[in-house]
Amino acid sequence: MGYFAESFAELYNADGWIDMGMYIGSGSSAPGWWTVIASVMLIAVLAKGNADEQEHYK
């Protein structure tokens, strides 16, 4: 889940920057879980938004 590199040297080698994502959780299942969380939040926001909106129209 954490950041995969501990030093600048680890990010950069003789051939250039490493050829992979350089974000927190790269190479792990973390991006997938963040995507699930974001998707659930989005659906929840729409559901709550609609409930509030229908209240306004009563």
């Binding site: 490493i18 050829d19 992979m20 997938g32 974001a38 989005l42 609609n50 229908q54």
Partner: protein, 467 residues
């Protein structure tokens, strides 16, 4: 001597490497800068739509517009981008396999366009990848633009969340399918029919325009738009200068939109090492855009002025002028552009009036400007550009060229990809009670009912609110 040759060889390699770095950084910056330019389209839509709204509904229209932008971009990240790469060969290939260029198909999309698993490395910060983010960003703004196009037609009576659901389907699915089929070198409309739509007249504008028509049929008109005898009343927006300025900002953003339609040379993903091209790999330059976009905008304004003398329709004509030639901006001559754009500007208002005669309340002329003129542009390219190559020199020799038949097929497909999903999703939203705002709320004003803010000082209220 040998040492000198070795030194020169090393220097040459260093120069080539530096040149490649410059090219890569230029390409990255080029596409990156198209993104804020396209955000200007949304600034324009925001002003345009709020200006076309009555005072009592101004902020509600703004809220709806902002949410369309936000939700479309996020959902385009979550799944829209995947559809673009997965579907070019579908349904010709029901398994949606890779096309001739091998940059399409479900397997390819899974590898580069999903925000999880191994493909996540192309959906986030990656120092070895200078292309994915800027291409995704440009396409995300294309998506948001498409969703925002439909927004204006629906003002003052569509519910916010119901609209957002429709916008997501349009921006992150319907137009993406159109782009996969007709705006991709492996797209079946391109490879089988020679469909050509450089500036997205069909796959963005027509799809969005007819998607809006599908919604309008289920949504119905604003309260007070039509009389009992079927005649229409004009419902004026509260601020024409805001609307016209917004339209001009949309034109500014169009320059960014269209420059993002060019594939730059010299990169691993480029079609050629030394020439810019269209997305189809056919020749294209920014100079061509400079000639044709400026002339189209001007021709459209003049054409609409001839018929209407109305600044709203003149600026709508400006948009229509560009849309009418967008499919062939890469191959039209400047004077040809003037003629087509002027005709588009002239037919605009009569087409909008004709649609209104069917009881359709399109508040800003969206169906006509984007839908009708979009299809007009697609077909005009078939009339004038038949025989021109549809794909670059890399394509198989028997590749189909641009033709009237191919453009008509493309126009029909774009109409259906807009209208059918628009009608179906809005029908479902309507059945869920999430589409139309109750008439009592429309009469009272949407801002007073559901927006915790005030657009203008208390001294400036609308007559409708008072009543």
């Amino acid at each position: 001597m040998e040492d000198q040759i070795l030194a020169l060889t090393a220097e040459l390699a260093a120069v080539k490497s530096a040149a490649q770095v410059t090219n890569t950084m230029f390409a990255e910056a080029y596409y990156y800068l198209t993104i804020p330019l396209m955000v200007l389209i949304h600034a324009g839509f925001l002003l345009y739509e709020m200006g076309a709204t009555r005072v009592k509904n101004v902020l509600s229209s703004g809220t709806k517009n902002l949410l369309a932008f936000a939700f479309t971009i996020i959902t385009f990240y979550l799944f829209g981008w995947w559809f673009y790469w997965a579907l070019p060969t579908f349904p010709y290939d029901l398994a949606s396999g890779a096309g001739y260029m091998e940059i399409s198909g479900i397997e390819y999309a899974n590898a580069i366009a999903l925000p999880w698993g191994d493909s996540a490395q192309y959906m986030g910060p990656n120092m070895a990848d200078h292309a994915s983010g800027v291409f995704w960003g440009a396409f995300a703004l294309f998506a948001a633009t498409t969703a925002s196009i439909a927004s204006g037609a629906l003002i003052e009576r569509i519910q916010t969340v119901g609209f957002v659901i429709c916008a997501i389907v349009l921006g992150s699915f319907a137009w993406v399918v159109a782009a996969a089929w007709g705006w991709h070198a492996d797209g079946w409309l391109v490879t089988e029919f020679g469909f050509h739509d450089f500036g997205a007249a069909g796959l963005v504008h027509a799809v969005a325009g007819f998607f809006a028509l599908g919604i309008l049929i289920n949504l119905g008109p604003r309260v007070g738009k039509f009389n009992a005898d079927g005649s229409a009343n004009h419902i004026a927006g509260h601020n024409m200068p805001l609307t016209v300025t917004g339209l001009m900002l949309i034109i500014v953003g169009f320059f960014g939109f269209l420059m993002a339609c060019i594939i730059l040379p010299g990169e691993g993903w480029s079609w050629y090492a030394d020439q810019g091209t269209t997305i189809y790999g056919t020749p294209m330059t920014l100079s061509a855009l400079a000639f044709n976009v400026c002339l189209a905008a001007s021709g459209g304004i003049i054409g609409a002025w001839v018929v209407t003398r109305d600044p709203f329709w003149m600026m709508s004509g400006c948009l229509a002028g560009i849309i009418s030639v967008a499919s062939g901006l890469d191959i039209y001559f400047g004077s040809t552009v003037i003629v087509i754009a002027m005709v588009a500007g002239m037919i605009l208002k009569p087409c909008a009036d004709w649609l209104e005669g069917f009881g359709i309340d399109d508040a800003v002329g969206c169906v006509t400007v984007h839908g009708t003129i979009g299809l007009f542009g697609v077909v005009m390219l078939g009339v004038l550009g038949s025989g021109a190559p549809g794909l670059g020199a890399f394509a198989p020799e028997d590749t189909v060229a641009i033709s009237l038949f191919g453009q008509v097929v493309g126009a029909v497909v774009m109409f259906l990809l807009g209208f059918v999903p628009g009608y179906i999703v809005s029908w479902l939203v309507h059945k869920a009670g999430m589409l139309r705002i109750p008439e009592s709320v429309q009469i009272k004003g949407l801002d007073a009912v559901k927006v915790p803010a005030q657009a203008y000082p208390e001294s400036m209220v609308s007559p409708e609110s008072d009543s």
